[in-house]
Amino acid sequence: MNCKDFESTIHEIVSPRAADKTKQLEALEHAGHCLWCALRFDEETKLTESLQAFARTLDVQRAPARVEEALVQAFRERTWRTAAPRFWLAGKRLWRRLSWGLVFAATVAATWIVILQAPHLHRGSSVPPPQVASNPPLASSEPSQANEELRLAPGQSERQVKAQSERVKSQVAARQSDEPGAARLRNRKPGASVLDHRQPDSGAQAASHGRAERAALDESASEVTTDFIPLGTCDDSECMDEAMLVRVTLPAEALLAFGLPINNDWVAGDSVAADVVIGSDGVPSAIRFVN
């Protein structure tokens, strides 16, 4: 070590926290040879001791307690001020989530209620099947079973209607064979389809249709009709599929043509009302006389 090295490291050598002991020994060894460096070492050592003494006097120095109190108070206020908005924000977020959850739960509940109530509502809105054929039989020999078989409810399925249609057709055919010219088709209201395949399913259409049917039935209840008399023009059973009942006015002599009696007070030119069953081919297949 020379004087230049000694000078550049002197403050580290004399420092109490000097870590490099080797360098310290080298410096001391150099100071042993060099008077100037020995004096310099002495000056630096004295300065270090003075500074340490001064530092020790300040070791006890601390900020007053009021500073800590003021700072703790400020910290509490700051924490409260920052925590309060956080709390409110968290509360708002929680409420927002809860409200969405409540809306979702309400929606689910409403959906379930609708699903559970749907069958009841459907049942409540459905119109009871109208009693289409309810005329009392004119002929006492007519069994009431025929009326039941010709009832066509709006709620009936097409298969049921077809089955019923088949039964009616077979009945007509059987009666034609048993009583030629006197097969009895009974109690269809005027203008109504004998075998109406266009049955309304439900709703307002069914309701209005049911009301019309009931009105017609009420009207027809006051009428007195004969049994249906086959006209023998419909050999094919399919012609009955789309059969229509049409109210017509015929000369009173038409009663004689079907072997029916005429009232004593009959005069020439009198007319009589009749219901004619017109098949899908447009050909009348049966007739009955009204009043």
């Binding site: 000078e7 100037w36 001064f54 006097t57 400020a74 910290f75 509490r76």
Partner: protein
């Protein structure tokens, strides 16, 4: 609270950020002495030291996210803040302490001792002389001396506090000590010191 004293500063700061008052108190008690003494040694004013200490920790309370651990320890960061506040207040007041004025607020910083009165007085005078010599140093030398010699801060941390390189710290410290020796020698040029900075004096 007892367990908190063993926790590192950075961990205490994180706990403090979470609103832990005990962590803040622990950190304050651990670091306030160094900050207070640093400002007191730099300015010689207990009032200024008190103000700066309070401002440093108030700033930590207000904005405790300004500390970057990668740039040094929290102690150095707090000392850097204290230095910044102290220099700002000193420049604002423009009342630098001269070596004749003593401590700025008239308070004697060195406590009386119960030792031999003559020795104590001599020692007291010696300490006051050192204090006045330190206060008379230019700021950048004073900072280096106060940090490295009085507070035994490492060169690396001192460089972090002062915002300069370690070499600059060493240089400022060397020059500051030389000035102190000169001032303590009564203003006369110290012969040994003057020759000490002459590298040609010895090539051995």
């Amino acid at each position: 609270m007892a367990g908190l004293t063993e926790i590192r500063d950075e961990q205490l700061l994180r706990m403090m950020q979470g609103g832990d008052e005990d962590a803040f108190t622990t950190l304050y008690r651990r670091r306030q002495g160094g900050i207070y003494r640093f400002v007191l040694e730099m300015s010689g004013s207990t009032a200024l030291a008190e103000d700066v200490t309070q401002e440093v920790f108030m700033a930590l309370i207000r904005d405790n996210r300004g500390y970057d651990p990668s740039r040094g320890p929290l102690g150095a960061y707090l000392l850097g803040m204290a230095r910044h506040h102290a220099l700002r207040l000193l420049k604002r007041d423009r009342t630098y302490v001269s070596i004749e004025e003593g401590s700025r607020d008239g308070r004697d910083l060195t406590p009386f001792s119960s030792e031999d009165p003559h020795w104590a007085m001599s020692r007291q005078q010696s300490i006051q002389t050192v204090q006045q010599a330190i206060l008379s140093l230019p700021e950048h030398y004073r900072e280096a001396v106060v940090l490295c010699d009085l507070n035994e801060v490492s060169y690396e941390d001192a460089a972090s506090v002062l915002g300069c390189s370690v070499g600059t710290v060493r240089s400022r410290l060397h020059r500051g000590r030389a000035l102190l020796i000169q001032k303590l020698a009564g203003g006369k040029k110290v012969e040994a010191g003057s020759k000490a900075i002459d590298p040609s004096r010895c090539l051995a």
